[in-house]
């Protein structure tokens, strides 16, 4: 299962096509903290998008940009805090640091994508790490989503400061999240698996006044 | 010196308190002294007091750039304990503790040293190992203390949440019965009054602007009120030590950090001991006026601003409310900051320096207040004899080259 193309690095597809039961990072939180269904009153709706492919891409922007364009068809966001998506909105790439990007793609695509990127990049200095099992995507939607975030993150989420197409790593309560604004309606949180229970509990607690509902 | 006593109070009341004397003079600087102490905080004043009282030095000046006792002496959370891990530190702080135990009488000034006991909580298994290690070491060093389990802690502090439901349940604590708190300002004033009575000139509003050094030897200081000569100069300037060392031409392994503390509004007595938790980062006691006095660790950056970061205060109060959920509706009255000079091994420097006749006593970090009398006494002995007192000797600057640190970060783990 390792790609022999680049012998200096060992790639490894940690996912299988076999019918294996999987547990999303929020699975236990639903059970432990509860998951109130959305109602007409709900001004925030929370939704987990588990089991996506998450890759961390490291290297120089110029080199990577070409490969990402070629493989994914979208440019590498060159500006800090940039987030770009493909036309379907299913694949995204975000700036994490001057030499680090996060790729999120439909679950199952990540290993092939990694291999294609590695091929395109050849022997340039870069790195790709698969972190799909380690994080999950949580969506927040609704008129009060922004206020809920104001209760939770130190970063300024005002639309003038946080337009669509922005993504930042910041402090969420006492944890770290990646906060993204892929479109007008929706906010995305990329949450580390081990912090998922805490983050979820926080969101439910802080979201009570907005009648936060959980879509499952 | 006018003796203070209950009788004196009654006598003075009859004359409407019109005849109380000054507690210390406000003298003009002389041209020369035998010894100059730079820094009129608790440690500096104590040094001058013991020099005059126990070592017969008669001609001493304490030079203070602001007002005496206006630095960390006035800004700390007043905890006094001696349950340090390492022999060297334990000897120093226990020496100090013994002086505390007779200090009010010695100074004829009630410093309100209240031996109400100090609990250092353990919340993890490693905390408990460290506590056992420290208490065992204390016992063999002749320092009182015992290890309590969670039930023992609950019995001492019924209002604390010792349940298993806490995020970090209390597993136990070390308990030093002789430890406690004192009235910080009174310590500085008591030493100042005592030193003044022995003829020490306390020169307030006098700032040292440089040292007079010839052939590697100090022979005086420059100040904003003129030059003053002395062959022995002891610097006890806490957060400003680094600045003074620079004037004298050498560096110290010190960094000055903000340390914050806060008080609640005054409450009826509800907590009669001192509770410290290193793990959740907060400590608390209640003053005789009723304020809860609360503190935590230092801020991470260097700062002389006497203020620190707000999140430090937030985290401290989170810890306090975690330990004492009933205080959630109590209100925070005031917060403030001090400047603590910290050493890499969380132990002080009491040392000779590359300049002959120039001594430094600094780097007390968050532990300075409790050491005030002991530090003053061993430093005084060292200045008087020209040789470091045996208790002070391990705290030499040399240890940062040899590697013989006294790492109180390690298992003692508890600052303050």
């Amino acid at each position: 299962m390792s790609d022999p193309v680049i012998a200096n690095v060992r790639t490894f597809d940690t996912r299988t096509e076999a019918k294996i039961p999987v547990k999303s990072p929020l699975a236990y939180a639903y059970r432990r903290t509860g998951a109130p269904a959305p109602t007409g009153e709900s001004r925030v709706v929370l939704r987990e998008r588990p089991f996506l492919g998450h890759l961390v891409l490291r290297g120089g922007a110029i080199v990577l940009d070409e490969a990402v364009r070629a493989v994914l068809g979208v440019p590498l966001p060159g500006e800090p805090q940039g987030l770009t998506r493909d036309a379907a909105g299913e694949r995204s790439i975000q700036w994490l640091s001057p030499d680090e990007w996060l790729l999120i793609v439909p679950g199952g695509e990540e290993a092939a994508l990694e291999n294609r990127l590695r091929e395109a990049l050849g022997d340039a200095h870069f790195a790709i790490s698969n972190v799909s099992g380690g994080q999950t995507l949580v969506e927040l939607e609704g008129e009060s989503a922004r206020e809920l975030l104001m209760k939770s993150v130190v970063y300024d989420v005002h639309p003038s400061h946080f337009p669509v197409g922005k993504a930042v790593t910041t402090v969420f309560a006492k944890a770290t999240v990646i906060l993204r604004r892929p479109d007008e309606q929706c906010w995305e949180l990329v949450v580390r698996r081990s912090f998922a229970d805490y983050t979820y509990r926080w969101l439910l607690d802080a979201g009570e006044e907005f009648c936060l509902g959980v879509e499952r | 010196m006018q003796r203070y006593s209950g009788f004196a109070l009654v006598k003075h009341a009859l004359s409407h308190h019109e005849n109380w004397e000054r507690q210390w003079r406000n003298p003009e600087p002389k041209k020369a002294y035998d010894v100059i102490i730079v820094g009129g905080g608790g440690h500096g004043l104590a040094t001058a007091y013991y020099l005059a009282k126990e070592f017969g030095v008669r001609n001493i000046a304490v030079i203070e750039k602001g007002w005496l006792g206006g630095g960390n002496t006035a800004r700390n959370t007043t905890i006094v304990r001696s349950n340090y891990l390492w022999d060297e530190a334990a000897a120093l702080y226990e020496h100090s503790m013994k002086l505390w135990e007779g200090l009010s009488q010695d100074l004829n000034y009630n410093v309100m040293f209240s031996q109400r006991g100090v609990l250092n909580l353990g919340h993890t298994l490693q905390d408990m190992r460290d506590i056992q290690r420290r208490v065992n070491a204390n016992r063999l060093n002749g320092i009182d203390g015992e290890v309590l389990d969670a039930k023992g802690v609950q019995a001492r502090v019924p209002i604390m949440d010792c349940s298993k439901n806490a995020r970090y349940p209390v597993l136990g604590a070390s308990w030093q019965p002789r430890a406690g708190v004192a009235r910080h300002d009174a310590v500085a004033w008591g030493f100042a009054r005592g030193a003044d009575a022995h003829g020490v000139d306390i020169l307030q509003q006098t700032e040292v602007t440089g040292f007079k050094v010839r052939d590697g030897r100090v022979y005086g200081v420059h100040t904003n009120r003129g030059d003053i000569e002395a062959k022995t100069v002891g610097c006890v300037a806490a957060g400003n030590s680094g600045v003074l060392a620079k004037m004298a031409g050498f560096k110290l392994p010190l960094e000055s950090h903000p340390l914050q503390a806060l008080v609640s509004e005054p409450l009826k007595p509800v907590l009669d001991t001192v509770v410290m938790s290193n793990h959740v980062h907060g400590y608390i006691s209640q003053t005789d006026k009723g304020d809860l006095v609360i503190g935590a660790g230092i801020d991470g950056y260097n700062g002389y601003g006497q203020r620190g970061s707000y999140p430090t205060v937030e985290h401290t109060l989170q810890a306090i409310v975690e330990m004492f959920p009933i205080f959630s509706r109590v209100r925070m009255n005031r917060q403030w900051g001090g400047i603590v000079d910290t050493c890499p091994d969380a132990c002080p420097i009491i040392s000779k320096t590359p300049v002959k006749g120039l001594y430094f006593n600094c780097g007390w970090g968050t532990g300075g207040f409790k050491a005030t009398p002991g530090s003053g006494q061993v430093f005084a002995a060292s200045l008087a004899r020209g040789e470091m007192h045996p208790i002070a000797a391990p705290f030499s600057i040399d240890r940062f080259q040899s590697g013989a640190l006294i790492d109180e970060h390690g298992a003692a783990g508890v600052a303050h």
């Binding site: 500006e79 800090p80 805090q81 994490l96 640091s97 001057p98 680090e100 130190v154 970063y155 930042v168 790593t169 910041t170 402090v171 770290t176 | 400003n240 680094g242 600045v243 560096k251 110290l252 392994p253 010190l254 960094e255 000055s256 991470g300 950056y301 260097n302 700062g303 002389y304 601003g305 203020r307 970061s309 707000y310 999140p311 000079d341 890499p344 940062f400 080259q401 040899s402 590697g403």
Partner: protein, 118 residues
């Protein structure tokens, strides 16, 4: 609470995202074995502790994870500049109001001061 401009993220961020990491421009001796105990002790433990302008290393821990430098006044806590690793400060004890362009040129011509990262 500080508001810190991260030179990599290109915007001001809250202090809670950062950790202070002590004095900036410390350089590990190139040949530690050739150092005396005193020199090694200096490198390990002795730091500048100025009252006033100070150059500090910080890391944008909850953010881009990059280390960078801050010139800050330790009395007023005013941040005069932030700059990337490898860059030189414009505000120094010598030039508390910032280096004029001609100063910068002059220094650029002189070799880099010791204790500064390449």
């Amino acid at each position: 609470m500080f508001h810190i401009h991260c030179p990599y993220c290109g915007e001001h961020r809250e202090e809670e995202e950062f950790h202070a990491k002590g004095q900036a421009h410390l350089q590990r001796p190139a040949d530690p074995e050739a150092c005396s105990d005193e020199e090694w002790g200096d490198y390990l433990f002795f730091r500048d502790n100025p009252r006033g302008i100070h150059h500090e290393l910080w890391v944008h821990a909850v953010g881009c994870r990059k280390f960078f430098n801050i010139t800050r006044n330790t009395v007023t806590y005013e941040i005069l500049e932030t700059y990337r690793i490898g860059e030189q400060p414009s505000f120094t004890a010598e030039y508390p109001d910032g280096r004029r362009p001609q100063d910068a040129t002059r220094e650029a011509q002189a070799p880099l001061k010791a204790g500064v990262h390449a």
